[in-house]
Symmetry: C2
DNA sequence: GTCTATATGGCGATAGAC
DNA sequence: GTCTATCGCCATATAGAC
């Protein structure tokens, strides 16, 4: 049993935990369910991780990194500030599954544990900062009016996404998400015109 | 033991469930915790409600009614369309506690049970429709440009609130919520000018 | 209507064999 | 590294006395 199998078991544990946290949250995810999803035994899991919290920490950090990287993919490409933001907003998403990070803010045990909340805070902090940079750039280029607040506008953009997920899940269909994005894009284009 | 005590026990059970669902969600709320919070015994709870799901149903329906009524309070008052929407957005909120309804969309058991999800869907449906009415009104009065889509804009407004809660909880402070609202209000005023 | 007793099963973890 | 056994506790009721 070389390093390969070791890494693969840990990887399966982390990825299974990511999926379960996404679907059922921290409170709703049991070590047993993780083991079943990862096809790993009880002993195996507790050998690699001290417990549920430590495994969740690894999974949340991984998800945070993936999320910010995905955002960077859309935001770093070519185009005007508006085009890049719209591309990010309209990216293909599994709307009804919700946001893997945003979902965790509903979990009291995650919010109460600094080690679990920190990666969530960091992911959203990075994305909001990146959006604010792009909007500030758009201002410099005369694309947005001088009076536009980049930080506040960036928060609104991020909030529309997170809120769009919430409204869509409540409705049981994608529409509210798409509508909210459409409404925001329209407003953004309105002030740019 | 007349009707008074009976009603009071049921009331305490419902209200305690509302609080616990808000704080810990459906999965994280146990009948035992509800009984403790309501100062009601095991037998008492199961006498009035068939089980956790039925009690949750009553609590969610109550919360939905309270939420739509509160929204109506802000939205029905005097002022222009923009003023009424801004008043609704800026209403005093316990930001870090999140939205009692929005929170439930993260709960897989709530989403999976039509009886539990329906009141959530209805509450958001009502609020979005009411916002769309007001925006349509503002269009008729020349307050908003003719090109503005009331339904999409309403979805964006509702999404900013829900997303603002998520961002604020992630950050552990109110700021992102306030910023998102500020960003949206600025955009709304921008297109109205 | 409310109480206590009881039941089944899952949670989250530890222990020690292999 | 992984397995099985075991643990104490809680979840979600049900049963029947009072």
């Amino acid at each position: 049993m070389g390093t390969v199998e070791w890494v693969e078991t840990v990887e399966r544990l982390i990825r299974s935990t990511q999926e379960l946290l996404w679907e059922r949250g921290y409170v709703g995810t049991s070590p047993k369910a993780i083991q079943a999803a990862a096809e790993a035994g009880q002993g195996s899991m507790y050998h690699h991780f001290a417990g549920k919290a430590e495994l969740a920490r690894a999974a949340i950090e991984r998800s945070g990194a993936e999320l910010t990287e995905a955002a960077e993919q859309e935001l770093a490409g070519p185009g005007t500030a508006t085009e890049r933001i719209v591309r990010y907003l309209r990216r293909d998403r599994e709307v009804l599954r919700g946001c893997r990070m945003g979902r965790l803010t509903a979990d009291p045990d995650v919010m109460a544990d600094p080690a679990l909340r920190a990666p969530v805070a960091e992911a959203f902090g990075r994305i909001r900062a990146r959006l604010a940079d792009i909007i500030a750039e758009g201002k410099r280029d005369g694309e947005f009016p001088a009076g536009l607040d980049p930080v506040a506008t960036a928060a609104a953009v991020a909030a529309v996404l997170q809120g769009g997920y919430v409204l869509a899940r409540a409705a049981g269909e994608d529409d509210p998400f798409e509508l909210a994005v459409q409404g925001l894009v329209h407003l953004l284009e309105g002030v740019s015109a």
